[in-house]
């Protein structure tokens, strides 16, 4: 700004002009800051997604993709197989997200308010728990839950059971256990960051004002950490619902995940348009749930920032 900057009685028009120029500068810098990510997302998400949408309206005739537009793929994707797989994935995703958030919240709470000594070491350990190969984890869980696994060997050795317990592995429960184990460190961080901003005095105020531990959790602690919880929930939900290696290796034969059904359309079945339509349906369902949670979290955070 030039000479008007120091003028104590700048006329209204000048002031308006100045504010206007300032807001343009702000807009430009915002665009500049957002540009790299915008280009990246456009190239690697928006374009492939567009291609996927186009594919979903084409057809396959005699192992050839023909460019005829129809809604047939969408009708076909509401088949029993895909809907059951979608339901299975969502049940796994929602359960995993819920259980993970409860565990991560309890852990974050303990680290924030209970642990006094060795806090940094503990934080390091939690972050370190997110390292480690994904495939190694799957095999580790097979080693723990399997018929000759650690749990069954122990139970048999101490004569609590006469033979291996079959229900430990190859079902939805085993899948959820492995997914929760995978995601707890990731869910921990947003919740912990949120709890760092919660003054312990506020929790004490709730108690003194007559809220017992449970009611204090409900009326004070949870509303104050809703944003962190929703963030973690959506994050875990998206990745747990979309996972197909863990359900494949630890799930039962009946629990086919949606991601695997979709993947097979692009693989052995070779029906890319149907796979694309299924993927779009999948994205809309998961995106809808995530959007609802994001709106909820956004409202919460606006309210806190006001």
């Amino acid at each position: 700004m030039t000479s008007v900057a120091g003028d104590p009685v700048a006329p209204a028009a000048v002031l308006r002009n100045r504010t206007h120029r300032r807001s343009i500068a702000r807009l430009l810098s915002t665009v500049a800051l957002a540009a790299p990510l915008t280009v990246w997302l456009a190239a690697l998400v928006a374009v492939p997604l567009g291609i996927l949408v186009v594919y979903s309206f084409w057809r396959v005739v005699a192992f050839q993709i023909v460019h005829v537009y129809s809604l047939a793929n969408y009708r076909a994707s509401f088949s029993r197989v895909f809907l059951r797989a979608l339901e299975n994935s969502l049940v796994i995703g929602l359960s995993t997200a819920a259980i993970t958030c409860v565990i991560a919240f309890a852990l974050a709470w303990a680290v924030r308010f209970r642990v006094r000594r060795g806090k940094n070491l503990l934080l390091l350990a939690i972050v370190a728990a997110s390292a480690g190969s994904y495939l190694a984890r799957i095999y580790a869980w097979r080693g723990i839950l399997g018929a000759q696994g650690a749990i069954n060997s122990f139970l048999t050795a101490v004569h609590l059971t006469s033979g291996p317990l079959g229900f430990l592995i190859f079902n939805r429960g085993a899948v959820i256990v492995a997914l929760v184990n995978l995601f707890v460190p990731y869910a921990f961080l947003p919740i912990y960051a949120n709890l760092l901003a919660v003054d312990p005095e506020i929790l004490e105020a709730g108690r003194v004002l007559g809220a017992g531990p449970i009611r204090n959790l409900r009326h004070v602690a949870l509303p104050l950490t809703a944003v962190g919880l929703a963030t973690s929930f959506v994050y875990v939900l998206i990745f747990a619902t979309g996972d197909f290696a863990i359900p494949t290796f630890l799930g039962g034969p009946t629990g086919l995940p949606a991601a695997q059904v979709i993947q097979s359309q692009f693989g052995e079945i070779f029906n890319w348009p149907l796979g694309a339509a299924m993927a779009i349906v999948y994205l809309l369902v998961l995106g809808g749930i995530s959007a609802l949670l994001a709106v909820y979290a956004g409202r919460r955070s606006r309210r806190l920032a006001r």
Binding site: R207, V208, L209, G212, P223, L224, R300, R306
Partner: protein, 367 residues
């Protein structure tokens, strides 16, 4: 602890604590505290930081469990009750307003747990906001309020549940001077109107003196003095009490002679005659507390206790606060600004000490 008191304390006390002990890792925050506070009293707990005053408040609130001792509220033993079961409330040092709730929701918070229906809750909260002068602010967010207004919300939130006592943990500490003065007067007025027992923790002695019926002075986890503000100021029990409450000149001396309740004390080159406390013998090492207002400056050459030179003077409106260098040290003085000053900066003056108002404390042999 009084023997034979049993589980129920004397009914007269609204709050009573007996033999409270609390230890943080290495420091003894409460070293056996006994205290009784009557209904409707405004009591300040005063002391330097780390003296245990906040610990005492937190033990009473139930936020800390004492290592030993009991807490009675209206004669009931509440030592092992969780905070939410105690019929008391607290205004926190950083106010601890709920950021996710509006002003009226903050105030109504405690009523929810008393089983009040929603309509009654917001009605009572509205009335209380009216009382603290925040009518019309109900829907605001607490972030939109000034420090003084947030203070009022915290107070309203703590009073609306009609607690038997209200604990206040240095709640005015974050306010600037003018608002602080205003809030002091307002707190006092509200306390008188509602007749709720207030226990007010502060490290600011002027605040404690200005507001309370009684000042409980603490140091190192123990109560040093428990008396009215006037009594605390005029008759401090020891050198610490004398120097912490109000300004004073604390001088070391030796008792020369004691006769008929008056003793003569030699402080460096000066001799001061003061009213003698009990058990003071010739040769005893003592600390003498002389308030600045008990020192009178005279023209150089006029009869005086000791000679000095004005080293510092600051005009604070009705008074001139000065420092006079003497052979027994730098003495703080306080003179009315109405009269013409006896000496200006650098002038030689006579210093007259009013020994009858001085207080004498026997120093420990170790000191």
């Amino acid at each position: 602890m009084a023997a034979g008191v049993g589980a129920v304390a004397a009914p007269a006390a609204k709050l009573r604590v007996e033999g409270l002990r609390f230890r943080y890792r290495t420091t003894e925050a409460l070293a056996g505290v006994d205290l009784a506070i009557a209904e409707g009293e405004f009591v300040s707990i005063l002391g330097p930081s780390g003296c245990g005053k906040t610990t005492l408040l937190r033990v009473v609130a139930g936020l800390l469990a004492p290592d030993a001792g009991r807490v009675f509220l209206s004669g009931r033993d509440i030592t092992h009750q969780p905070p939410e079961r105690r019929q008391l409330n607290m205004v926190f040092q950083h106010l601890a307003l709920f950021p996710h709730l509006s002003v009226v929701e903050n105030v109504a918070f405690g009523l929810r747990f008393q089983g009040e229906p929603k309509r009654i809750r917001s009605e009572k909260a509205g009335e209380m906001l009216d009382l603290v002068g925040l009518a019309g602010f109900e829907r605001r967010s607490t972030h939109q309020l000034s420090g003084g207004q947030q203070q009022r919300v915290a107070l309203a939130r703590a009073l609306v549940t009609e607690p038997e006592i209200l604990l206040l943990d240095e709640p005015l500490g974050s306010l600037d001077f003018a608002i602080r003065k205003e809030m002091q007067a307002e707190l006092k007025a509200i306390q008188r109107r509602l007749h709720i027992t207030f226990v007010f923790v502060t490290h600011d002695q002027t605040e404690a003196m200005a507001m309370s019926d009684r000042v409980i002075l603490m140091r190192a986890g123990a109560i040093v003095q428990d008396a009215s503000p006037v009594e605390t100021y005029l008759n401090p029990v020891d050198a610490f009490a004398a120097s912490f409450v109000g300004e004073t000149n604390l001088l070391q001396g030796v008792v020369e002679s004691v006769a008929a309740g008056v003793c003569s004390i030699r402080i460096g080159g000066a001799r001061v005659r003061v009213a003698a406390p009990d058990a003071l013998a010739a040769g005893a090492h003592v600390a003498v507390s002389i308030r600045p207002e008990h020192i009178t400056l005279r023209r150089a050459g006029a009869p005086a206790t000791i000679a000095g030179r004005v080293e510092n003077e600051s005009f604070v409106g009705p008074e001139v606060l000065g420092e006079v260098a003497t052979s027994i040290g730098l003495l703080k003085t306080r003179e009315s600004a109405v009269r013409a000053p006896v000496g200006r900066l650098g002038d030689e003056v006579g210093v007259e000490i009013d020994g009858s108002r001085a207080r004498v404390f026997l120093l420990d042999a170790s000191a």
